[in-house]
Amino acid sequence: MKLVRAIIRPEKLTDVLTALFQAEITGLTVTRVRGHGGETEIVETYRGTTAKKELTEKIMLDIGVSDPVLDTAIETLVAAARTGEVGDGKVFVLPVEKIYRIRTGEEDVSAVTPIAAEASA
């Protein structure tokens, strides 16, 4: 199992979610973050204070996937998040040793298998 951690543009979140859901990847966690990369710099002024905004708003996605799904997940995500402009973000793939589903105690692959039936309930 892997943890796919992607940093994307906030305005791409809807597209990425839609694409992932279509690829039947429905378990994920989203965090508001800020990033520094090669983006253009922003200068702000408040009265006499001039300041440079070093960080721009980004969204981080954490998706725990079983190995077979890994490639689909990355491809879907990268395709949906790309604009081609500097600042599109990165994907990190981290190894995961164990996954538990808190509700049931299920482990590993079955812990990240979406529960389609219940979901629609």
């Binding site: 200068v43 001039t50 440079k52 905004k53 960080l55």
Partner: protein, 446 residues
């Protein structure tokens, strides 16, 4: 009532010496009570523009909050000065049936002598607060996508070329709509229909926001919307109550109607919300309050309190469904200025023609009280204002668009206009923001 008063007062104004003297004789005609009420009414109406900034500012996304609020606040500066310089004279100067003149430009001859029972200077200021907010109202249709400088030019021209003439037609006392007998107590046509139509035209000329219809664009701060609605209501007591220009029975009638009509609209909106989704929305409640206030604006001093309850309740229906429907079209009148102000104003103007009652206002009857002709006059005034406002707004925007681009580039629209046009963020925790000392600032600007 109001236009009659203006009618009486204006010759006095026109005759006033260009001197700044506090004429003792004129002073004696002043009523302290009326002056007290008009002082506070002027303050109340001025407060409506900051209130509008919050009403609108809460409805947009946080990255455009300051831009949206500044579209209102800047009107307090630019439109305020313009009114003193030319606007008042163009609206209330003698001129002709269509527009005033420059006789009172730079407030020449506007002094402390009585205009009716209040100092004419105070009348000027009271009217100025209407000018300020009407320009700001339009901004709701173009938020999140109009360059701030283009907006500045636009509202300056619009105020002088659209607001001032329309105001002249209805309220100057010597122009065609007033002469016809159109009833507009506090600005259903002059303010709301006028701004509402300009809003639609502006939304069409600018086009939709890049995310419109593709992403959910959700209000970032609904409490601010409620704050704005609450303060608008409060200020509107001065808007409508002050339009009596005196602390008399008509002012009381207008104020009471301004309390009851929105209450009725809010109640009806609640019923519609419960019927449609079972959920009484807060944004809906704030909208309902504004719609009710708009609807009662032309009617406030002309109809009975119970009629104003009906006007409020009836107007809820078309406005509610217009807002539902508009969001499904490609017309990105982003904050529904037309559905709230335009349509609300039209309903109010028509219903004034239905419910006006001389037993209350001492002069004008509507359809229900035996004067069906009034409805026709009301309809005519609506059509005239819509046609003129729509056309001239279109021309102004096209001309401004020749001089400077109306919209920021797509990436800038994505970043949000607070950063792009104002170099600020509405809410900041300061994290990752690094102070530029003078040298850095210079090199970074380079």
């Amino acid at each position: 009532m109001r236009f009659l008063l203006c009618l009486l007062a204006l010759p006095a104004l026109a005759l006033a010496e260009p001197a700044f003297a506090q004429d003792a004789a004129a002073e004696s005609a002043l009523s302290g009570a009326d002056t007290a009420w008009m002082l506070i009414s002027t303050a109340l109406v001025l407060l409506m523009t900051p209130a509008l900034a919050f009403f609108y500012g809460g409805l947009v996304r946080s990255k455009n909050t300051l831009n949206t609020m500044m579209m209102s606040f800047i009107s307090l500066g630019v439109a305020g000065v313009l009114w003193a310089v030319f606007g008042y004279s163009l609206a209330f100067g003698d001129g002709n049936k269509w527009i005033g003149d420059f006789s009172m430009a730079f407030l020449s001859g506007v002094g402390l002598e009585a205009d009716g029972s209040i100092p004419s200077l105070l009348f000027m200021a009271f009217q100025g607060t209407f000018f300020i907010i009407t320009a700001a109202l339009i901004s709701g249709a173009v938020v999140e996508r109009m360059r701030f400088k283009a907006y500045l030019i636009f509202i300056s021209l619009w105020g002088l070329l659209v607001y001032a003439p329309v105001c002249h037609w209805v309220w100057s006392g010597n122009a065609w709509l007033g002469d016809l007998g159109a009833l507009d107590f506090a600005g259903g046509a002059v303010v709301h229909i006028n701004a509402g139509v300009a809003a639609v035209v502006a939304a069409l000329v600018l086009g939709a926001r890049k995310d419109y219809g593709r992403q959910a664009i959700i209000p970032h701060n609904v409490p601010f919307v409620l704050l704005g609605a609450g303060l608008l209501w409060f200020g509107w007591f001065g808007f409508n109550g002050g339009s009596a220009l005196a602390a008399d029975g008509i002012a009381a009638l207008a104020l009471v109607n301004t309390m009851l009509a929105p209450a009725a609209t809010l109640t009806m909106w609640t019923i519609l919300d419960i019927g449609r989704t079972g959920k009484v929305t807060a944004v809906g409640a704030a909208t309902a309050i504004v719609v009710g206030l708009v609807a009662v604006t032309p009617a406030a001093g002309f109809v009975s309190p119970i009629s104003s309850v009906l006007i409020g309740a009836i107007t809820a229906l078309p406005c509610y469904f217009a807002i539902q429907w508009r969001a499904r079209t490609r017309l990105d009148d982003s904050l529904d200025v037309f559905a709230a102000h335009g349509l609300g104003g039209i309903m109010g103007a028509l219903l004034t023609g239905v419910f006006a009652e001389s037993a209350w206002n001492g002069g004008s009857d509507g359809l229900l009280f035996g004067n069906p002709g009034q409805l026709g006059i009301q309809a005519l005034s609506i059509v005239a204002v819509m046609a003129y406002s729509g056309l001239v707004t279109f021309v102004i925007l096209k001309v401004v668009g020749l001089v400077t681009s109306l919209r920021p580039g797509i990436p800038h629209e994505g970043m949000g206009l607070d950063i792009v046009s104002h170099g600020e963020e509405a809410y900041s925790d300061g994290e990752g923001i690094v102070l530029l000392l003078d040298e850095d600032a210079r090199s970074s600007a380079a």
